[in-house]
């Protein structure tokens, strides 16, 4: 079946621009996670949804980062006034409730110039 999809795959933004990154989880998956992966590093947690409820946003690095999942399926990660340090790969993962495996999408590579 279809896996987790993310769009766009690549995004180049000028410093100060706002960007929106989309995640389509596996159909029926209740849990959705966003991670940030810097070059040469492991993914780091940003935020977590169960259905439409954002249960944990402790990993968001600043108030410029905002995520939503209004209908409990597709999620959008928005970054306002992008900075160079925001350049990274943004990964989305989904999982069934009470199921261990998190399935990752291919990521969106964001480059802020």
């Amino acid at each position: 079946g279809a896996g987790v999809s993310q769009s766009p795959r690549y995004k180049v933004a000028k410093r100060g621009q706002d960007v929106a990154l989309r995640c389509d989880p596996i159909s029926g998956h209740v849990s959705l996670f966003w991670y940030q992966q810097a070059l040469g590093q492991g993914p780091e947690f940003l935020t977590y949804f169960q259905n439409e409820a954002q249960l944990d946003k402790s990993g968001l690095p600043s108030d410029r980062f905002f995520a939503e999942r209004p209908e409990g399926s597709v999620s959008t990660l928005k970054i306002q006034r992008t900075q160079q340090e925001d350049s990274a790969v943004y990964l989305c993962a989904s999982s069934l409730t009470h199921w261990e495996t998190q399935y990752f999408g291919p990521g969106t590579r964001l480059l802020v110039l």
């Binding site: 996670f33 590093q41 492991g42 977590y48 009470h98 495996t101 998190q102 990752f104």
Partner: protein, 113 residues
């Protein structure tokens, strides 16, 4: 504070060799330990996972060894192939995995023919 420490950072082995990647964790509440494989430009894919009630788990050529008292676990790849060349991440989580994963920094494995 890095909760999951992974070593080595990079590893080169001959085809047929047995690369070993090690991880150590700090939080004794962790109860689920997956390994992910990531190819360039792709998202991490689950390889194999273990819970602390067993000391070893084998799936195909991949084996996890787990030492609960030492808070360490490792990945062994038997009969390694050039196609195994990728970056490997250990991770940890609790509450049956329906919580954010904490990743190690990754090991870049190169298997040379």
């Amino acid at each position: 504070q890095q909760q999951v420490k992974q070593s080595p950072q990079s590893l080169i082995v001959q085809k047929g060799g047995i690369p070993i990647i090690n991880c150590a964790y700090e939080n004794t509440a962790f109860d689920y330990f997956p390994w992910y494989q990531q190819f360039p430009g792709k998202g991490p894919a689950l390889l194999i996972a273990i819970r602390p009630d067993v000391s070893e788990k084998k799936e195909g050529r991949f084996t996890i060894s787990f030492n609960k008292s030492a808070k360490q676990f490792s990945l062994h790849i038997m009969d390694s192939q050039p196609g195994d060349s990728a970056t490997y991440f250990c991770a940890a989580t609790f509450n049956s995995g329906n919580t954010p994963l904490v990743f190690g920094k990754g090991t870049r494995l190169s298997v040379i023919a």
